[in-house]
Symmetry: C2
Subunit: 806 residues, 2 copies
């Protein structure tokens, strides 16, 4: 349970992320029900993008379906305008359930309490529900407005046009179309009061353009009184016309409240969008009809049934994904929050959507899917939600043509994946992705056209998913074409050194983006080498197990000659080696000659707080200070290839030179620290990673660009550090090894994972490692516990190894 027990206006932005809910199709930020655009309220849709001319293309935020405001004698009840006497905001991680309770003491001493609880259904990802209650300590006049708020946060909006509001049978609908492609977005909401209708003094539907309908239920006992209240309220809220100053549709209920009575209602909601997945080509009215129908169905099912179905899905998720830490409640909460953040944004509904770098917490980074997904999130899904992992990779198959277009556009063959991928795989990353704070001019950056490792990241992820799952069908049907086209890209992107005849990757950007356009980035070359090997292995596997598929693929891709060239390049690809004596691997050609200024020195050169450190002339660009793990990430991803001495030498060399300007960095230092026995360092970096969306301690701006939001890659990094780092879980080709190393405060660590369809529970204490195979497993798996002898663990069996972890 994540909880705040006081209201802090400065925490509104952070809490939008910390208390966020989502179901893979949409994310609703953790804002209070009365919040709107100014407080960054947003309901971000997965996979639906829009571009306003001249601005960045980014995800569409749907109208907020959970909008509720309570007015008391013309005063809007909001902790922003009146400090609450009590306030609590909660997120139940187990059920992805957001709740809040706020008490206001009014000038006349009357106390008003607002209570709300909401969720986006994980069982039916189009719907959700909100239960809202108001009670007062004394009689007073209340106006409750509940409905759909189109006035939501937009970074580069407005994305919606042609708003249409309507109401039928108590179901409000707000539909609109996107600016660029005219895609439909529709939200429906039905407000069902649980209090006696007699208490209502007014009840009407209000739209952007005026009063929509007097509800049939309107039975004012005292017409005169009601009229007075309604007029006063309207005047305070939105002027005399009855219209609303923004695209909203609301049910406005006027009550003369009695002390001690809880006036509650449920708001059932539904969201439909023509996101090319399940609403392809659907016109806005039709989307609105679909939403209304779903909303009616939800209302018919009722709140408790909906919540129960939702809870059931979440129970199943946690059963597979939870990691228990004994002895360290802070770490436990942070890790569960991290896992939670991954689970609420994982697309369960589509093969055409992946996870953006800021999840569904808003539009930051254009809603782009980065390498974050493949390298930092996929291990979690591979181990505990393999079908989600498969979907995430299917997205790369779906966007393969976009990657081909990008490669061709730059004069290369094969697939060069987008640095910031949206629904088509065409690159949303601009050539000018950072604004210079000194001149206000856009800076030419090379993320888009030189960060070639993205294609290797995808290929390696495909392969690791195959290795983890053994899913040959996935490899043949989805993965192989991706892998071959990525490898082909490198065949054409490389260059041959005319003196040595070795293949090199020049003019690239590695993970450390502060150093652009470098030659032979060690990480990139290692990833490219892996890609070539994977392409060859894939061809060999298909030859063995799927000859027809291989033949079809090779013929269709005209891959015969390239298959031969894979061997040539794999044999002659240059990879920077550990320097004799020091063991340090140069990050790229010439890195060693850069100024060895300390991080503090470089920081002291900063003139403006948000200035960008890279881009040729930034303060770090010509020093050894790096943005994030680069060589060290390579020693994690290919940890079998490097001795502990080399890993240690590089960790110790690069760690003090790393700014961690990316949230992807600390977890890598944590993972390698755990790998080489630096437990304290691993723990420190683990905490930094795992708490990022709880504390909100992350970079919020690069130049004038807002980059706040959730950090799914760090969330995935937290899981990796716990399970792969401290848990020491590692998949070898034919066995699983567990070599745990627990932080000093941890008494035990327990987790589950799946490999090749078999599930295992692992529990690590200082005394022992216990592995239990699910009874439903169909095959044994071999384990090496703490470096001991290899042992099979059959279905239902438990094996144990006494351990002596530090």
């Amino acid at each position: 349970m994540v909880e705040d027990t006081a209201f802090d206006p400065a925490a509104i932005e952070k809490n939008g992320c910390k208390f966020m809910i989502g179901n893979g199709r949409a994310g609703v930020r953790g804002t209070l029900e009365e919040f709107s655009r100014r407080q960054l309220a947003a309901c971000t849709l997965a996979g639906l993008y829009d571009q306003v001319p001249g601005k960045w293309r980014e995800p569409v935020n749907a109208p907020n379906p959970f909008f509720v405001r309570v007015w008391l004698d013309g005063e809007l009840l909001s902790p922003e305008s009146r400090a609450p006497s009590a306030h609590r905001q909660r997120l139940d991680l187990r059920a992805a359930l957001h709740s809040r309770e706020t008490v206001f003491r009014l000038d006349d001493g009357c106390e008003v309490t607002l209570r709300a609880e909401r969720f986006l259904s994980a069982a039916d990802t189009h719907i959700g529900a909100l239960r809202f209650a108001v009670s007062t300590s004394g009689g007073c006049r209340l106006v409750i407005e509940a409905g759909i708020d189109g006035d939501v946060w937009d970074l580069n909006g407005p994305h919606l046009r042609d708003f249409a509001e309507s109401e039928r049978g108590g179901v409000m609908r707000l539909a609109a179309r996107t600016q660029e492609q005219g895609r439909a977005v529709a939200v429906a909401a039905a407000v069902e009061p649980a209090f006696a209708k007699d208490d209502l003094r007014g009840d009407e539907m209000i739209g952007w353009h005026g009063r929509l309908a007097h509800a049939a239920a309107l039975r004012a006992a005292n017409a005169e009184e009601h009229g007075r209240v309604a007029r006063a309220t309207q005047s305070a809220v939105s002027g005399d016309s009855g219209a609303i100053g923004a695209p909203r549709i609301l049910r406005r209920m006027t009550l003369v409240a009695r002390a001690g009575i809880e006036y509650s209602f449920v708001q059932y909601i539904a969201i439909f969008a023509d996101d090319g997945v399940d609403g392809e080509g659907r016109p806005a009215p039709s989307a609105a009809d679909a939403a209304a129908a779903a909303c009616r169905a939800a209302r018919a099912a009722g709140y408790d049934a909906l919540l129960a179905a939702h809870r059931a899905v979440w129970a199943e998720r946690w059963a597979r994904s939870d990691v228990q830490i004994e002895g360290d409640d802070g770490a436990q909460l942070a890790l569960r929050h991290s896992i939670y953040q991954l689970l609420i944004i994982a697309p369960g509904h589509s093969d055409r959507v992946s996870i953006p770098a800021r999840g569904l917490s808003g539009q930051v980074y254009k809603g782009g899917v980065f390498w974050d997904t493949e390298i930092f999130m996929l291990p979690f899904f591979n181990h505990t939600q393999p079908e989600t992992a498969r979907r995430l990779l299917a997205y790369r198959r779906h966007t393969l043509d976009g990657a081909r277009r990008k490669a061709a556009d730059l004069g290369f063959r094969g697939a060069f994946y987008a640095w910031e991928s949206q629904e088509t795989g065409d690159d949303a990353c601009t050539y000018f992705n950072v604004t210079d704070v000194f001149t206000g001019r856009p800076l030419r950056t090379y993320f888009r056209d030189r960060q070639v490792h993205i294609s290797a990241d995808v290929a390696v992820a495909v392969w690791r998913h195959f290795e983890q799952t053994g899913d040959l069908g996935f490899l043949a049907g989805t993965g192989a074409e991706v892998v071959l086209e990525c490898a082909r890209f490198f065949l054409s992107r490389a260059c041959i050194n005319p003196d040595t005849r070795r293949f090199e990757l020049r003019d690239v950007v590695g993970p450390d983006e502060y150093h652009e356009r470098v030659d032979n980035n060690a990480f990139t070359n290692a990833m490219v080498a892996a890609t070539l090997r994977i392409a060859l292995d894939t061809l060999a596997l298909l030859a063995e197990h799927a000859q027809a598929a291989r033949a079809e693929l090779v013929a269709r891709l005209d891959y015969g000659d390239d298959a031969r060239r894979l061997e040539e390049m794999a044999a002659a690809l240059y990879r920077p080696q550990p320097a004799p004596g020091t063991g340090i691997i140069e990050q790229f050609d010439g890195y060693r000659r850069l100024e060895d200024a300390s991080l503090a020195e470089v920081r002291a050169r900063v003139i403006k707080p948000n200035e960008y450190w890279g881009a040729t002339h930034g303060v770090a660009a010509n020093t050894k200070v790096i943005k994030q793990a680069d060589v060290v990430l390579m020693t994690h991803l290919f940890r079998d290839e490097f001795s502990d001495e080399v890993k240690r030498a590089n960790w110790e060399y690069y760690e003090p030179r790393t700014e961690h300007g990316s949230s992807l960095s600390p977890c890598v230092y944590a993972l390698v620290a755990a790998d080489i026995g630096k437990t304290d360092w691993a723990y420190r970096y683990f905490l930094k990673t795992a708490t990022i969306d709880l504390t909100g301690n992350s970079k919020q701006y690069v130049g004038p660009l807002y980059i706040g939001g959730t950090h799914p890659a760090a969330n995935g990094g937290a899981w990796m550090t716990a399970v792969l780092g401290f848990g020491g879980l590692r998949m070898a080709r034919d066995f699983v090894s567990v070599n745990p190393i627990l932080p000093s405060a941890w008494r035990a660590l327990a987790f589950r994972f799946c490999t090749r369809g078999q599930w295992f529970a692992v529990r690590v204490t200082r005394a022992a490692i216990t592995v239990t195979a699910d009874a439903a497993n169909t095959a044994p798996a071999a384990f090496e516990l703490h470096g001991g002898a290899r042992r099979d663990c059959a279905p239902g069996e438990t094996i144990t190894s006494a351990t002596a972890t530090a």
Copy 2:
């Protein structure tokens, strides 16, 4: 004759260049005799460099040997402090003779006239002389200080330390050592009054540290009067101690002047420096001795004899180099001034010195030798001063090891010449050569490490010198090793495209420095192709004519395998081609995709006047606006390879997109305009080029960096445009063609040139071309006049062709 007839304080800096004198060993700026550091007085030495820790390495300015100040009753006579009633400054281009005449009307109505004439001897480049005269319209008391002023202009000084002053036999000596290497610099001066010694009331030598000696000649008729004058003067000049506030040594003569009498004296000067050429390892006292001896010899020879010897050398120079324009006096003067500027800086004394980009006009650009010399100046010297051209190329042989070190340092083989070459060939260009005006930080630029065409420029220049002179001994003894090592550099610097297997030059900077780190710059690839061909041709020529030299060279350089690889790369080197339809050659891969903003649009984006337009983020860097001729320069250098249509298409495409941010640019557009018949454009760009050091209309600052000075490359460009452009002179392999095209104002154009040791005079009018071979020639040469039949021109013969030039 270049002349100013009024004093303009704002023109002091410009006139320093416009009125400069020099003799290849030293340049003395065109400042008035009374001027010092503040007015940018400088005596810049060729080939002697020094570095103050933490600052840029640059040439050393010697103490100013021509320093004279006249005081009248304590008032320094200077047009800066008292507006002169008449002032004239002159430069006699024929004899490199600087003169001035200034009349001051004092408050009491008395008129004082200063006259001076000075030269640096072209006959003996260690010496020079100044004749100075003062006359007054009424009786008054004068103090004349004449001698050596060490307080000269320095950009990154002070470069001299351990100043030592002394005097013997009337010869003053000021010696010092450079900061970095302790190299000696010594200046001597002897002041010989031409007036009666009886007119002297005081006569003494004053040094930095006080009064040095009372001259033996001191015979004050009225000791009391002299004492009063001397005291008053000392007090006004430098305080009571008699010392001078700067490293100076002066002869101070006190006169009671009579009306109408001209008090004149001659100052004989000598300069010796341990520049590694003729003073290697010479200690400062010894340099001072050498200077004193030279000074005494000059004094013994007398002013008239020295001047006559000087004039004789200049007469010979002009006889070979003059270009006459009839009908356009402005163009005539500008062109002669351009030729003059080249002649005063050409090293006649050494094979180890070349011409810096700002000549000997100061320390700008670190006194670095750029490609300017090979591509923009060498054609002039090849045609009219071939022994100087040979010397300039010998400098590249002398600095070959520096070029090898640079290549090796960057991981390549062969010779990568310095972008800014000083005495060793190590690169003076820094990796941070421009300062950002917005942040004050140094900007990483890529002139030094990516502007690889410099090595091709050198190789092509070697070959063109050989073609012009037929000097096989030069090629075998000096040129071949340079050429082979440059070609070898490209063998290792290229990369092989793995798809096409063609050789490419990626990540380079072409002449247009606003676009850094580009791939396949058309100019660079063309120059590299030429270099490979030249290396192959050189090897073939040596095989035919100098087998032993070839064998020795190939063995010593271990060049066997590379000789084979030259063929391979020459056959497979990619060269960007004219686009079908338009004929436009893309400047580099992807240029066509840059923003096509107009020059005016780009200029309008400038925020600070001196901001740099390149360096990744400058206003031009991501547009099609280029700094200077690039593709168009290629169509000039390889004009036989391109059709007129292609030349025209590229001229018309790139011309409006060229900022001419380099003084090397206009002459190229002039040359190609003349080549394709755009006479008016050619004339316009010719004038811009030829007048640059007369008008001073050139860029003075890049960021906070001063870049003023003379423009020898433009000077060479003016000659090229006149002779090669308008004159249409062109060397083919076995004949000379003359295809003139005269600007409308020109009635005739006449020039001389030398090829393979044979001299010819050419005169072009609208009616005819006349070529006259020197009677002293030893062989005929074949000519094609205006596209007519080929005809031999035997020694002493004149051939004529009626022409119909526009």
